[in-house]
């Protein structure tokens, strides 16, 4: 079933001319792969990852990205300027304050998105801290596995299963708010697969799938951004011909 849906929407892109690549009106409107800094969590485990995936998104898609993405805390006044947060870490972290939890709750409910990326599938301490934080921020929501047929896996590339630096579990998890994924949790170390040093050399080897797996990790990163900027647009495409056909001529 999934295969047939994917086949039906996989069509060659036929743009006919070269558009100029320019900056947005304001740098603030370009997509920023913004990191979330949490008290007690320590430094980012893959500090070059966000810049590298931002470059990949810019070169592979029409999304304009900020190539020097910053980090914000939950109490930062700029938190709501960019509705995307990336949280990567190792080990547990102390519970955020009530003010931080309130800010995270509002951020997610007002339309923001949080991508959580554990560096090891078996990092129970990080996983428990994240889950405890989300349970406080969204007490009435639950974390659930994301269905393999979810539009997240076909928002730009066709992705069969989630992979990062490591293979990890066969699914991502997430929190759905009114039909929109507001949180996605990965235990595949996506950042580890994206990270490169200043000379362009990948910082970590990818196992067990090697460079193909690294490519698929990039594709999943692109898909996450395409999803948060387009939501279920790809599902809409399936219905668009039907909607147009049933409309008749008009003006």
């Amino acid at each position: 079933m999934r295969a047939s849906i994917l086949a039906s929407i996989t069509v060659v892109w036929l743009a006919l001319a070269l558009p100029p690549s320019t900056l947005a009106i304001g740098e603030a409107t370009a997509f920023e792969f913004r990191g979330l800094a949490l008290r007690g969590l320590g430094a980012e485990p893959r500090p070059t990852a966000r810049k590298r995936i931002s470059w990949a998104i810019r070169t592979r898609t029409s999304v304009e990205t900020n190539l020097d993405p910053g980090r914000v805390s939950l109490t930062d006044r700029a938190l709501f300027d960019q509705p995307f947060l990336y949280l990567a870490g190792e080990g547990g972290f102390p519970p955020p304050s009530e003010a931080e939890i309130e800010a995270l709750s509002r951020f997610l409910r007002f339309g923001g998105f949080l991508l959580v990326d554990a560096t090891r599938p078996d990092d129970a301490a990080f996983d428990a801290s994240v889950r405890a934080m989300l349970a406080r921020a969204l007490p009435s929501e639950r974390i659930a596995p994301i269905d393999p047929g979810h539009v997240l896996y076909r928002s730009f590339y066709l992705v069969d299963r989630p992979v990062g630096r490591v293979e990890g579990p066969p699914h991502l998890e997430g929190i759905d708010l009114r039909g929109r994924l507001a949180v996605v949790l990965s235990r595949h170390d996506l950042g580890g697969a994206w990270a490169r040093d200043n000379l362009g050399t990948y910082e970590h080897s990818v196992t067990p799938g090697g460079e193909r797996q690294r490519e698929m990790a990039h594709r999943l990163g692109v898909n996450v951004v395409a999803y948060v900027l387009c939501l279920d647009y790809k599902d809409d495409q399936v219905h668009a011909p039907f909607i147009m056909r049933r409309r008749g001529g008009g003006r």
């Binding site: 076909r154 928002s155 387009c230």
Partner: protein, 727 residues
């Protein structure tokens, strides 16, 4: 001279009939006892004693019960004869060299001279002077049966002479006979040579925008009906469909006509036929109807040049709106993007420019270009189509960004010609943050339901926008609703949000790609997302001409009214900046479909620019418009149609209905006359009835002589019995 008729017997004694019955039982018991006692007596004596006992107890019975005989005095009375003259519009039809109305009036005048009381009827009973029959406008309906029922309440009327063509418009048949005989006279016995009419018309009172709707028309034909007849449907005065009706196997035919509703609000439809030569009744060749056009779902096409937060939040808002049907296309990659994958590994489809902008463009109510540049997709050939789509009534919004407006290369294109602002040459963008300032605080796109004095503060509380596209000067008739706080063009604050009209359509330009900051970013600081949602909700409704967002609105309390009825008119009036026209003098007119003024009055609007007045519907049926215009002249501010009913069924049929008249006569015990010439003198039609004029009660047993007789009998029996040794 009255005659007497025995009417019954009553008992005036104490206890009435019940006591009389008891007395009777006592009488029978006394006589029976006497029969037993006298058994064994010699026959002559027995008979004498028994006779004496019977006479005595009967006399005492009559004395005690006092029976009385009731006698009625009856007189034969001649009832009044009322003549009912049909004065409906169908009676104006020609008969030979005269009309049905004249034929009826002549007969009524003769009967009046012979002593009849004459009245007229159409929609109701009225006095009628047959010597001056044309003092009142013919009635637009024929309520013949109701008129006869109204006469039943008058006891003095003994018979009715009905002069009519029988074309009852209210009821299909007679439910019960009448109290008096009705002598029915068919007027207009000769049917017209040829007349084609619209008998019935069925149209939905409410239809959906852009949906096709059907009008069913039933035609009737009297006389020679060999030729086909063309029937046309016009909406708001423009013919939109036609069909040919053929009268095969009878005097009626049906056709279906279709139309597509293209504008919201109340509209006028008219079905008309092209009459055959010699058609005698032009009035029944057309019928009008009112219908209301509503929207089932607003159809929106959203095209975005690249995924971005502004795109994502707008699409999410539109997608959540249950009143919208949206098709969206986002440019996810261009040919210079290096996807690092085969095409079969990507979930992308080609941008269907031809399908969207050639085949389906007209099916959308609103097209939104959000930071979309046409150049890379070779869409130059479609830009004139977008302009024409708007000129024909479509709505278009262009939202800013690095690929939009001047930066998108639209300056000098057909699309630029419909925008409310000039587009400067070059890229013309500025990346600095700013907060726009409301320029027209009462406009619904800016006020967002807030009082005008609150509007500047509300906008000052929103998060700053991340840069702007530089727009040129406003075009004539356009409005800048939000402006830049310090950037200026041509001496005026530079427009950020501008709206305008292009042909029949509406256009909006928003010169930023960060309006999403009125949502999540503002909400992060203030906890309220609604500013963004209310802005876009108002913008979509304004662009699609939601009547509730128009500066001036006018309505009537009813869409259909009777001839001459009162219509309550309400309205709110503001100028193009939505400032109320407080205290302004306006002209309130009632005009025909052709624009002819039927009535006009000067009215002062209230301090809030409101109006509530009563106007009288015209006496002639048809569609009319209430129009409010500036007193000194100029374009109307608003108008609303209403339908004066009356032409309805009155002239739908023209052939006299002798069958109904005959049935009325037969079932009421009257006579039917197929022609006025057959009607005899009034005396032959008068009805005589016996009426009780008094009552007498005769009580012979109350007289003294009867009391004396009873006493004598009693005494005689007593003496005889004592003499014979009996007690």
């Amino acid at each position: 001279m009255a005659s007497e008729v025995f009417a019954g017997m009553v008992f005036d004694g104490p206890g009435g009939a019940w006591a009389a019955a008891l007395w009777l039982v006592l009488v029978i018991a006394l006589v029976s006892r006497e029969v037993k006692v006298l058994r064994g007596e010699r026959s002559p004596r027995r008979k004498a004693l028994l006779a004496l006992r019977v006479l005595t107890v009967i006399a005492l019975f009559l004395l005690a019960t006092q029976p009385a005989f009731v006698v009625e005095r009856v007189r034969r009375i001649e009832g009044k004869t009322a003549v009912l003259v049909d004065t409906s519009r169908s009676m104006e039809l020609a008969v030979g060299g005269s009309t049905r109305a004249k034929e009826a009036a002549a007969l009524a005048a003769r009967l009046a001279r012979e002593g009849a009381e004459v009245r007229s009827f159409g929609d109701r009973l009225r006095p009628f002077d047959p010597t001056e029959p044309n003092t009142r406008r013919p009635s637009a309906s024929t309520r013949l049966i109701a008129a006869l029922e109204a006469l039943e309440g008058e006891s003095s009327i003994g018979s009715v002479v009905l002069l009519s063509d029988g074309l009852e418009t209210e009821r299909a048949r007679l439910d019960r006979p009448f109290r008096f005989p009705v002598h029915a006279v068919a007027i207009g016995g000769e049917e017209p040579r040829v007349d084609v009419s619209i008998l019935r018309l069925r149209a939905d009172p409410m239809v959906y925008l852009r949906e096709r709707s059907t009008v069913e028309v039933t035609l009737g034909c009297a006389g020679a009906c060999d030729e086909p007849v063309e029937v046309r449907l016009a909406i708001d005065g423009m013919v939109v469909d036609a069909a040919v009706a053929r009268f095969e196997g009878g005097g009626s035919a049906r056709v279906k006509l279709e139309f597509e509703a293209r504008k919201l609000g109340r509209h006028v439809g008219q079905v008309s036929l092209i009459p055959p030569e010699g058609d005698v009744v032009p009035e029944n060749d057309r019928r009008s109807f009112l219908f209301r056009v509503e929207r089932d779902r607003l159809r929106v096409l959203l095209v975005a040049g690249s995924p971005a937060w502004d795109v994502r939040f707008l699409r999410e808002l539109l997608e959540r709106n249950p009143a919208l049907d949206m098709v969206s296309f986002f440019i996810l990659r261009t040919v210079d993007d290096l996807t690092m994958a085969d095409t079969n590994e990507m979930a992308l489809i080609p941008f269907p420019t031809d399908e969207l902008f050639r085949e389906h463009l007209g099916s959308f109510d609103l097209v939104i270009f959000q930071n979309f540049d046409y150049g890379p997709y070779r869409m130059e050939i479609y830009l004139p189509r977008i302009r024409d789509y708007v000129m024909r009534g479509g709505a278009f919004a262009m939202i800013g960004g690095e690929k939009s407006l001047s930066a998108g290369g639209y300056a000098g294109t057909p699309v630029a010609s419909i925008l409310p602002v000039e587009l400067p040459a070059g890229k013309a963008v500025d990346p600095r943050e700013f907060r726009p300032v409301p320029a027209v605080p009462r406009h619904p796109l800016v006020s967002l339901g807030e009082p005008a004095r609150e509007v500047p503060r509300r906008w000052a509380e929103t998060a700053p926008l991340a840069g702007w596209n530089q727009l040129g000067a406003l075009r004539e008739g356009a409005r800048a609703l939000l402006v830049h706080p310090f950037d200026r063009v041509g001496g005026q604050a530079r427009p950020i949000l501008a709206v305008g009209e292009a042909g029949e359509g509406r256009v909006l330009v928003l010169a930023t790609d960060s309006s999403f900051r009125w949502g999540i970013t503002t909400a992060g600081a203030r906890g309220d997302l609604s500013h963004y949602e209310r802005f876009w909700d108002a913008a979509i409704r304004y662009l699609s001409r939601d009547p509730s967002l128009e500066p001036s609105r006018l309505s009537t309390d009813r869409e259909r009214v009777a001839l001459g009825a009162e219509v309550v008119v309400r309205g709110e009036f503001a100028d193009d900046d939505y400032e109320p026209r407080a205290g302004e003098a306006v002209a309130l007119r009632v005009v025909t479909e052709a624009g002819q003024v039927v009535s006009e009055a000067e009215v002062l609007l209230s301090a809030h620019g409101e109006l509530q007045e009563r106007v009288q519907a015209p006496d002639a049926p048809g569609v009319y418009f209430v129009v409010v215009a500036p007193q000194g002249g100029g374009e109307p501010l608003a108008s609303a149609p209403f339908l004066v009913e009356g032409e309805g069924d009155e002239l739908a049929r023209v052939r006299p209905d002798a069958a109904l008249l005959s049935q009325i006569a037969e079932e009421s015990g009257g006579r039917f006359f197929a022609s006025p010439d057959d009607v005899p003198e009034l005396d032959a039609l008068r009805e005589v009835e016996e009426r009780v004029v008094g009552e007498d009660r005769r009580s012979p047993f109350r007289e003294p002589w009867f009391a004396a007789l009873a006493l004598v009998l009693f005494t005689a029996e007593l003496l005889v019995r004592r003499r014979l040794g009996r007690t």
